[in-house]
Symmetry: C2
Subunit: 148 residues, 2 copies
């Protein structure tokens, strides 16, 4: 993706265009897997990103709905941009994650984002008991193609 396209995405989410945001956005858009703060730091070591600035950049992306984060069992967060979220935002201006699952590899701990069909889960029981469900998230555990 070229520089002008990346800038356009930031502007669509009402974010100022900065060097840090551009390179982080570019990286996350290219990555098939969700990435941690330290993975991003390593991948972008040429930029010598400041630790705090990167955290703030990632949080900002999540706040505006451009990226989403997944808490791992190793008590840290992985960040990902799900391409449909970027496109959806173009059309309808409110942030709402597209339905997708997270595949967590037990061997390498990588997390992959996957498209899934909407509303596949039978939630009658929960709804009967007075729980109102706004959104759901599916986590798959197993072995990824690389580790198999």
């Amino acid at each position: 993706m070229n520089d002008e396209q990346l800038k356009q995405i930031l502007r669509e989410f009402d974010l100022k265009v900065t060097k840090v945001r551009l390179c982080v956005l570019d990286l996350l858009l290219q990555s098939r897997i969700a990435m941690s703060h330290s993975q991003i730091t390593d991948a972008l070591e040429a930029f010598e990103l400041d630790k705090v600035t990167l955290y703030r950049t990632l949080n900002t992306f999540v706040e505006v709905g451009l990226a989403h984060k997944v808490a791992t069992d190793e008590r840290n967060w992985l960040y990902a941009i799900y391409s449909e979220d970027v496109q959806q935002h173009n059309h309808q201006h409110e942030h709402h994650e597209s339905p997708h699952a997270h595949f967590i590899c037990e061997a390498c701990d990588k997390i992959y984002c996957f498209p899934i069909e909407e509303k596949q889960i039978d939630l009658k029981k929960a709804e009967l008991e007075g729980f109102s469900i706004k959104q759901h998230e599916i986590r798959l555990h197993g072995t990824c193609p690389v580790c198999k």
Copy 2:
């Protein structure tokens, strides 16, 4: 649940019976929601549990398959005992979580465990791509009956 029943559960999971384990087990069995380290500390303040001992107790419960833990978006863990896991263990001696979902209340951050039907998700796409799925976890986000 009486003391003898609690001891019996610990023995079935090959754990030594101790004061700390008994009171934590008792609490988690009674709780509808998954509980954090600090919630447990507060609930059992009469026992003046040591911080480290409680962490170790919870980790042990998870290791043997008596309890399970859920990572929250606030980067901490909540622990829960899903009653079917305790019963299942009686019969078949290998630890395998019963299918259930986690409901996360956006208002109070509480996490409830819910029974669900097995295999409700269409995983063809993932499997075609070479991902082998061993287990899945469903997270529901919304508002719980108390907060509504």
